[in-house]
Symmetry: C2
Subunit: 567 residues, 2 copies
């Protein structure tokens, strides 16, 4: 396996050997290690000294199911800290098959020189981006697939990333070649824009899976692992059936569904935007539920959402987007929300960050809650770069500051996902402490917190903050966690998978310790960047303002929050 | 002497005795002590838990010359740290005569209830602000002076403060009752807006000076002190003759005059905007130079700037404003700059913060460098609250973030004054380390750095950072520092003034130690608020990008910066 080092100052590509010490690092662990060892934590994230790294997991390119997510790592311009964001889609699978473990992008581009990367069996090339510049992700992918083949997998930025906006994500194409999967958080698209890299094109379609070193063992444990995922009621039933939007009704019922800029935890039109409604509608219209974003995924939580005439509006239409672009804006129609989701995907915008920013703009009276046309126009203004769009495109925090709203649902500058901390307190604790900024994927699943008692929230946050981070080192999809965290057989199968592919014995303790060492890298980086315990807090108003309909405040103490990071 | 505690939640005014332990605290030392003991450093600066304090110096209300500046202290919404900002004008003199040492404003106002404070011999009253809301500072003062008398001294916020904008200052009226003096920095006007206090009206005109306890000694040492100020070549000659704009030519000649968003250190039209030109023009037109902002000031650095027909455009037209609204915007006509200054004073905007923000907007191409009409329109858009105005009104940092410009000349979120750190390095060191954010008044005068060698800059910054802070405890004008810092006779006269008024013997060592203890309060507060040594840094681009015409970068190391705070 190799690294590729791309320098945009002098337009060079260099291949380097994977250091032996990096053997057990993948995905989050690998991007973290590279960024922490090569990037000054105090540097300007959009300046010449920052770098960005794409890296695959431990089993990329193999037939291990749900194992080929790709991570991107960088100093985040949104949070100011070390950031890892990951996406599904077949890109990681192909990178693995091509023997590419990581791509490091560094340097300062010359004015007006934009490039894209093309990666295939011949190696890695930097090519002029030419007419791709200014295109949205959908058009850019079509153009690149005309050049490099229909089956090219692509990581691409839209207008938002080109403009270095802090809400900019990096889109990744799904199995069908459509840019519906996202490296969503932390403004990673802005860093790619600052490096003047429009896209990464990956062609590894017709290549074989990477074989295991112990094929017998691999065959057995992969089977057991897949079975574990399938027999779990969430990853084997709820997710394929309803997608992540299965959470809409659940989170609404506990009073934690962000509604109208986090001013209520329940939405009166919830039945119109639930996962159940979405599935019913899409089965009727001929859309797809139970769709796998990546070949070989057994969970298949994704979807392709079509309009009443059967034409695709969007795909990978997730719970977070349904809420942040729906209930949080007072919008209760799935087709409308799907269209807003499509716009964000096309322009290369994080739906969570943009939804939170729009909620604030609505509270400020810039546009009315529930006004779909105004919301579309506002998102389009981001792509155009009008002044209002420039504000919204910087995300929730700056939007709140500019518009004079101090109900800003962020931690470390990053917008909260679709769980109000007052309604699901353990999730608030995770938002607060994770080095990533308010991030719903940094701990256990929300259902773990929902099932637990109030006094268990902090301990669960502590345990699963570490476990979730350990899992992020593998490149496995987060939705493997239901089985991996709770079912010893599935977990042991995973340890056997490591053994069969890497010929290294990893104990259960070793495995979970990965979480601690990765978190330590991130916390050290962030501390050098200027973070303090005060960075690990929930906004003041959520401690003071009771959330309807349960009328709770966020009441986990600062000392309890700090205790989560003592390990 | 008493405190008044104003609670805007329940609209109450409470008089409290001055604690004995506060006897030697004035101005910066007093506001710092109150804020640090009463405000949670982690609170939302614009939320219910923040407070703001107006306080006078040690000799307020006495006949000690140049001694009646007023300080305001609060947790700054711009920097996030403890902030002290001070202003001249007779307000402090009257507060002293009325026996008011400090006014503490606290609580959370009810929606749409705005008040102003009226302070006179009868005491302190909270009155409904009614029709004052929405007015600029000029009109608000006229209206208040019609009610409370022509000679009322007023602290007032304009539209920017009402809108809680981070570039909002608090204006203070000068001797003539015109709001040309400013509590300029840190967004203190936004906190007053958040408390829904439009103005503080002070009537102490016809009252006697506070007598000294040792009248004989006072008479002698006040005379000696005044003589010291007058025989100093800066406070006795350059400042009364040319005002602070005397610095335009000096700073331009060393290549440190911020020009076109800090992209050059020299301005080709400098001769048109110099202090010498201003004085010549104003003498010809019948304006005023050598104007005292406060009765009893012997330095008289202020001015009243009139147009070619002799009508007043602005007053208190300082070097910082001439540069930030002039050379920094590529504008080389004093009348134009004076008009921009007037707009800022009227709307209640810090000229430094707004000038820096406009420079960034010009670099971003939102308006052209040198376009006066566009600059006027942009400042007017702040008062109106248009989207562009909402951005600019938040100051330089947010303007840069929104417009995607990463050449942002700020420290701790506050814009740099009119000295580019690359051209005058000691000043850069002061910008970096002072708990106040980039602040030119936190160390020695710029001329001290200009006269010194490169290797002396850090040590001078260290010594005078403490000395300047000590002086800020007295309520004396900063321009006393030329004589106080450099002339033993004047300094000893000052110690005798303390003795004659407070009957406390203060040694030279005691006096300078005030600086250390005040800085310690500020640093402790800021640390609890989340500041780290990384907060004490000059922006990356100033380390990398050479400044014409001397082609220097800012090269004081982080270790040297840190050493300034070791005392």
């Amino acid at each position: 396996m190799s690294f590729y080092r791309i320098n945009v100052s002098d337009i060079t590509v260099k291949e380097e050997e994977l250091p032996k010490s990096y053997q057990l690092l993948g995905a989050r662990g690998l991007v973290d290690s590279i960024i922490a060892s090569e990037v000054d934590p105090t540097c300007d994230p959009l300046g010449p000294k920052n770098k960005m790294v794409f890296a695959t997991g431990l089993f990329a390119g193999t037939s291990v199911p749900s194992s080929s997510r790709t991570s991107v790592g960088t100093k985040s311009p949104l949070t100011g800290g070390l950031k890892e964001s990951s996406a599904g889609g077949p890109g990681g699978l192909y990178l693995g098959k091509l023997g590419v473990k990581a791509i490091i992008i560094e340097g300062a581009p010359k004015d007006n020189q934009w490039h894209y990367l093309n990666i295939d069996k011949e190696g890695v090339q930097l090519l002029p981006a030419g007419e791709l510049i200014g295109l949205g992700c959908y058009d850019a992918c079509k153009k690149l697939q005309r050049i490099h083949g229909k089956k090219s997998s692509i990581f691409v930025i839209g207008q938002a990333g080109e403009k270095k906006m802090l809400a900019a994500n990096i889109a990744a194409t799904d199995k069908e070649g459509v840019p519906t999967r996202q490296f969503g958080r932390g403004g990673v698209g802005a860093v790619m824009g600052a490096k003047h890299i429009k896209a990464v094109v990956i062609n590894g379609t017709d290549m074989d899976y990477i074989p295991a070193l112990d094929k017998e063992l691999a065959k057995k444990c992969i089977k057991k692992f897949a079975q574990g995922l399938l027999k779990n009621p969430v990853s084997g039933n709820a997710l394929p059936k309803y997608g992540t939007a299965v959470l809409v009704n659940i989170i609404n019922s506990i009073g934690a569904l962000p509604t109208r800029n986090f001013s209520s935890g329940a939405f009166e039109e919830v039945s119109q935007i639930s996962g159940e409604t979405m599935t019913e509608l899409q089965i009727k219209r001929g859309g797809k539920v139970g769709h796998a974003c990546t070949p070989g995924c057994v969970i298949r939580c994704s979807n392709i959402y079509v309009d009443k005439d059967g034409s695709e509006i969007t795909g990978g239409f997730e719970y977070e987007s349904v809420c942040l672009l729906g209930s949080n804006l007072g919008i209760g129609n799935l087709d409308d929300i799907a269209y807003l989701n499509r716009l964000c995907d096309d322009f290369g915008l994080d739906t969570i960050e943009v939804g939170a920013a729009l909620g604030i703009a609505m509270e400020a009276g810039i546009l009315p809650f529930g006004d779909v046309a105004a919301a579309k126009e506002a998102i389009q203004s981001i792509a155009r770069g009008d002044i209002l769009g420039k504000v919204l495109g910087q995300g929730a925090k700056i939007t709140g500051q500019v518009l004079g709203i101090n109900r800003i649902p962020v931690v470390k500058g990053q917008a909260m996902a679709a769980y109000d901390p007052r309604g699901i307190k353990g999730m608030g604790a995770i938002y607060a402490v994770t080095p990533m900024g308010a991030d719903h994927t940094a701990g256990p699943s929300c259902t773990t917190f929902i099932k637990a008692k109030p006094e268990e929230q902090v301990l669960l946050a502590k345990e699963y903050h570490i476990k979730a981070t350990a899992l992020d080192n593998t490149g496995l999809c987060r939705f493997c966690s239901y089985a991996v965290f709770n079912d010893a057989e599935t977990f042991n199968a995973l340890l056997d998978i490591i053994k069969s592919y890497l010929q290294i014995e990893v104990t259960s303790e070793d495995f979970w310790n990965w979480g601690k060492s990765i978190l330590q890298i991130e916390m050290d980086f962030n501390q050098k960047a200027g973070f303090t315990p005060e960075s690990n807090r929930i906004p003041e108003y959520m401690h003071l303002e009771k959330l309807s309909p349960k009328w709770e405040v966020f009441d986990i103490t600062n000392e309890e929050l700090d205790s989560i990071l003592e390990f």
